[in-house]
């Protein structure tokens, strides 16, 4: 223990605490997984999914490729911290291993190598050069991180996360680690420059370094030389100056490690088990599960989700975005005001570099917070069959299409023109598809609607179910389990009628712009069908943000907290973006979007069915 120095203690305490805390958390969460989820995980080892996870961890946890796509500077900042630090540690270990020829030495020698061993590269492979280069890489990252606090816009982010105290402590410690290391290593080098030193080896014969050679490489070596020349001899001679720098470095490490499991930096480690579990097929569900912990804690609060959020950009609503929702949920202080104030448009999920299932997590939080359903609340729906007509094709208008009867009228004309025999599920009124209730968290009540409609569809023996409402479509596809009944959105049905030559349309030179409804595009992955139908009628002009990046109309049923003015402002934002295409009219494929956009639109707004019916 002759080499032991007290300053290594903060590092030791922090690292030990971190290790125990992480193990406890991960084991506890893993135990909480359902039997089926655990089975999925074990069965994924070792398969192609395991290899996929390893590659993904390298690409996303170290390289952060998705962030590079958001903005190169932002990508560099994340890569420099993650990959840079990882390599610094790896190279350090390798150096210790090579230097001590595989003999075991105390961990502190490894971590504070430059203090214990004054490496001079003439005698070794030039590890110092690599380590200095990596340190420089990270220091540039630290400068960028500081720069981002001041000018986030240049780094591709208009708004950044407002952090809590714990995060600020961890952040300060993290930023301090690397300058402290630079200073400590440089001061050690300065001392060796001035007075020489000895190289610690395992054997008895020590090698002396004469003054005027120093240690380290271009960064710590040069800075050391400069300090040796610049600082008065008595300061360099006084060992406590050097030791103080090493104390600061060790404390910064220790504080960061202790703060890590309680701060946003928990994502550094949590992303790794998350990737394994996700590639094993685990997903968040309608009810909260232990797996959600891995997703919630994998959020780095980078704030990339804030800019795409239209509540923020369109309606000026702050503090409810996914980053804040996950934070509040993680610390057990979620409020209805945050949980319910979300359009569930999926734009944040699209942008999230960690791939967190934002919508599902938001949904299961709502489910947990929902009031229990009373048994007789929906008793009146029993036996309420108001359907008319007969046919293998069923048409479900949905509540919103009944409130936009031009769409219904257009569908009637289209079915007649195509010679289709149709069973009309709800033309005279019917039972809601259940999705609005589900989105508000009332899944048990929603199940009653779903069961009712499902029975109705079965009783009337339909083989195809067409709906013009993407909200209904999504719930039919995901929650109804309608084996033997093909579920189609009317855009897909129209596309099919055109392909089969059952509809003859007059094509013109009219220009249309198309608004992707969230539930149809991001929600159900249907982008091509409506575009093909429009192409058969005229010219399509795409707005700036389209397909998976399309804007939300603002009238989403999922947001039960927003006021009318907020909805209006988002609708205005969308209407302006669509008008900027210079098209003659706006086309969408959702009755709710149609209403939401029409409120503020300067152009006429039509549903896809309307422009098709017009061209018959």
């Amino acid at each position: 223990m002759e080499h032991f120095r007290l300053f290594v203690l903060p590092f030791y305490a922090g690292a030990f605490f971190l290790l125990i805390t992480l193990l406890c958390k991960y084991i506890y969460w893993f135990i909480g997984l359902s039997r089926e989820q655990k089975r999925l995980f074990w069965r994924s080892l070792p398969t192609r999914a395991t290899w996929k996870s390893v590659v993904e961890i390298f690409n996303e946890s170290l390289l952060h490729r998705k962030i590079w796509r958001t903005n190169p500077l932002l990508g560099y900042m994340h890569t420099s911290f993650a990959l840079g630090w990882f390599l610094l540690i790896s190279v350090g270990w390798l150096e210790t291993f090579v230097y001590f020829k595989g003999e075991s030495v105390p961990l502190y020698v490894d971590i504070f190598f430059s203090y214990y061993v004054h490496p001079i590269f003439e005698r070794n492979f030039n590890f110092s050069l690599i380590k200095d280069a990596l340190l420089l890489l990270i220091l540039v990252g630290v400068v960028l991180a500081l720069f981002k606090r001041l000018y986030s816009r240049i780094m591709g982010m208009k708004r950044t996360t407002k952090h809590m105290l714990g995060d600020r402590v961890a952040l300060t410690a993290l930023w301090l680690i690397f300058p402290a290391r630079l200073l400590a290593e440089s001061l050690t080098s300065a001392e060796v420059w001035r007075f020489g030193g000895y190289v610690w080896t395992l054997s008895e014969n020590t090698q002396l370094i004469p003054p005027g050679i120093g240690c380290g490489s271009f960064l710590t070596g040069s800075l050391g030389q400069w300090l040796a020349d610049f600082l008065p001899a008595r300061i360099i001679e006084a060992q406590h100056v050097e030791l103080t720098a090493w104390w600061i470095y060790s404390i910064a490490l220790g504080v960061f490690f202790v703060a890590l499991p309680f701060s946003r930096y928990m994502h550094i480690f949590t992303e790794i088990p998350l990737i394994f579990l996700r590639n094993a097929g685990l997903r968040a569900a309608e009810k909260e599960s232990s797996f959600d912990h891995f997703q919630v804690d994998a959020c780095s609060r980078c704030g990339i989700c804030i800019d795409p959020c239209q509540l923020q950009s369109g309606a000026g609503i702050q503090g409810v975005q996914s980053v804040y929702f996950l934070r509040d949920r993680r610390y057990g202080r979620l409020t209805d005001a945050v949980a319910d104030n979300c359009l569930m448009c999926g734009r944040c999920q699209q942008a999230c570099p960690v791939g967190i299932e934002q919508n599902t997590l938001r949904l299961n939080s709502r489910v947990k917070r929902a009031y229990p359903d009373s048994p007789n609340r929906y008793a009146y729906i029993q036996g309420k069959d108001l359907s008319t007509g007969e046919g293998k094709v069923g048409y479900f208008a949905g509540c919103m299409t009944l409130l936009t009867p031009k769409i219904l009228r257009a569908m009637e004309q289209i079915f007649t023109a195509a010679g289709e025999e149709v069973w009309w599920a709800d033309k005279n009124g019917g039972v809601c598809c259940g999705r609005p209730l589900k989105l508000s968290g009332e899944v048990d009540a929603a199940r009653k609607m779903m069961d009712f409609n499902k029975n109705l569809f079965r009783q009337h023996g339909i083989t195809t179910l067409v709906t013009s409402c993407p909200i209904c479509l999504k719930v039919f596809k995901e929650d109804y389990a309608l084996e033997g009944i093909e579920v189609l959105h009317h855009s897909e049905y129209l596309q099919r009628l055109l392909a089969e030559g059952r509809l003859k349309l007059r094509s013109g030179s009219e220009t249309f712009t198309y608004h992707d409804p969230c539930e149809l595009g991001r929600g159900s992955g249907i982008y091509e069908a409506p575009r093909e139908v429009i192409a058969a009628l005229g010219v399509l002009k795409e707005p700036a943000e389209t397909r998976e990046h399309a804007l939300c109309c603002g009238s989403s049923l999922a947001n039960t907290a927003i006021d009318d003015e907020g909805q209006r402002r988002i609708g205005e934002q969308v209407a302006m973006a669509l008008a900027a295409t210079g098209a003659d009219s706006i086309v969408t494929a959702c009755p709710l979007c149609k209403k939401g956009i029409a409120r503020e639109a300067t152009l006429p707004v039509y549903d896809l069915a309307e422009i098709v019916a017009r061209a018959l």
Partner: protein, 340 residues
């Protein structure tokens, strides 16, 4: 000093402004976008609450305008009002010089098609109160097939107090219009059943409340507190409506022969263009905001720019005419002060 005062809009407020300005010795110029003077008044049959024929009021105003030395330019619109009210640019690009400008361009009727759920323009037998006035002028209320309706539902507040179509304000006069028309329908077809769906009945004028009471007691019109949520056509071209009676808290469905939508007043579409003038301020509703709502109702922040009538808020005919007089006197005061 030319003494020329430009009046934008030749409805009741604009005509009255011209008449008074002429009396006070100025030279009014009325710019009217339609082919003739009269504004919306030309479209009404009888006026609430006295059932006075609209033609009487209109004819009198027209006669009085004719006697003045006013210049009337019809089928002309104003595209821009100059900052200090010293002239306007007309739609043909020409400039018209003036001592002052009175904006009396009125309101627009809420387009009922925007409430798609009521099927206006889509189903037979859905009409607006404006259509009903036309029907009365043409001899009486008739369904699309020419028959007289047996059951009629009036729906109040279509395009008023409705956030979903960005019309948060109360249009004031639609309540009494609906009551007046319900009585008129009953007078024409004594056997008809009439339902009126409302949120609140706002009977603000003299004789209005009395007429409302008469509608209930004498004409047996059923007033149901609750709005219609949606309407759909039945196979025999009647209208099936869903509503809620909020006084008894029950949903309600019925089929009627005719649905009449009491459409509200929305801000005139030209207000946005006028608002480019820095002295003209708009309310969020789109109506023009006067200098203040107490002693400056007809004034703007420019001393030579004035307002009269429904360009600033929904008003009835009497109120609009009064504002015409008020605006004219304020113009005179400003211009006489400048002269001396």
């Amino acid at each position: 000093m030319t003494g020329r005062v430009i009046i934008i809009g030749g409805g009741v407020a604009g005509m009255q402004t011209a008449i008074t300005l002429d009396e006070l010795g100025f030279k009014p110029v009325i710019i009217e976008k339609e082919a003739s003077l009269g504004g919306k008044l030309c479209r009404w049959d009888r006026l609430f609450p006295t059932m006075t024929p609209a033609q009487e009021v209109l004819g009198d105003l027209l006669k009085r305008v004719e006697k003045t030395a006013s210049e009337v330019r019809t089928s002309t619109t104003v595209s821009e009002i100059e900052e200090q009210g010293r002239g306007v640019t007309l739609s043909d690009g020409s400039r018209l010089d003036a001592e002052a400008v009175v904006v009396a361009s009125g309101f627009d009727i809420f387009p009922a098609e925007r409430k798609e759920e009521y099927g206006y323009g889509l189903y037979d037998n859905v009409y607006t109160t404006v259509d009903v006035e036309r029907m009365f002028r043409e001899g009486g209320v008739r369904m699309a097939d020419g028959r007289e309706p047996k059951t009629v539902a009036f729906l109040h507040c279509v395009g008023s107090r409705d956030e979903k179509v960005n019309q948060r304000h109360c249009s004031r006069v639609c309540c009494i219009t609906g009551v007046k028309q319900a009585i008129e329908v009953k007078q024409q077809i004594p056997g008809a059943e009439i339902f009126s769906f409302y949120m609140d009945m706002r009977m603000f004028g003299p004789g209005y409340e009395e007429l409302y009471r008469q509608a209930q007691q004498q004409y047996n019109i059923h007033f149901v507190r609750g709005r219609i949520s949606e309407a759909s056509p039945t196979i025999d071209h009647r209208i099936h409506i869903k509503a809620e009676d909020t006084l008894i808290g029950r949903p309600l469905r019925m089929s009627v022969d005719m649905l009449i939508l009491a459409v509200g007043m929305q801000a005139g579409s030209s207000n946005v263009a006028f608002g480019r003038n820095n002295n003209i301020d708009l309310y969020p509703s789109g109506f023009l905001r006067p200098l203040n709502q107490f002693s400056g109702n007809v004034r703007s922040s420019s001393p030579r720019l004035f307002y009269a009538g429904t360009v600033t808020a929904p008003k009835n005919i009497g109120e609009s005419i009064n504002e015409g007089i008020a605006a004219a006197y304020q113009v005179a005061q400003t211009l006489n002060a400048a002269k001396s």
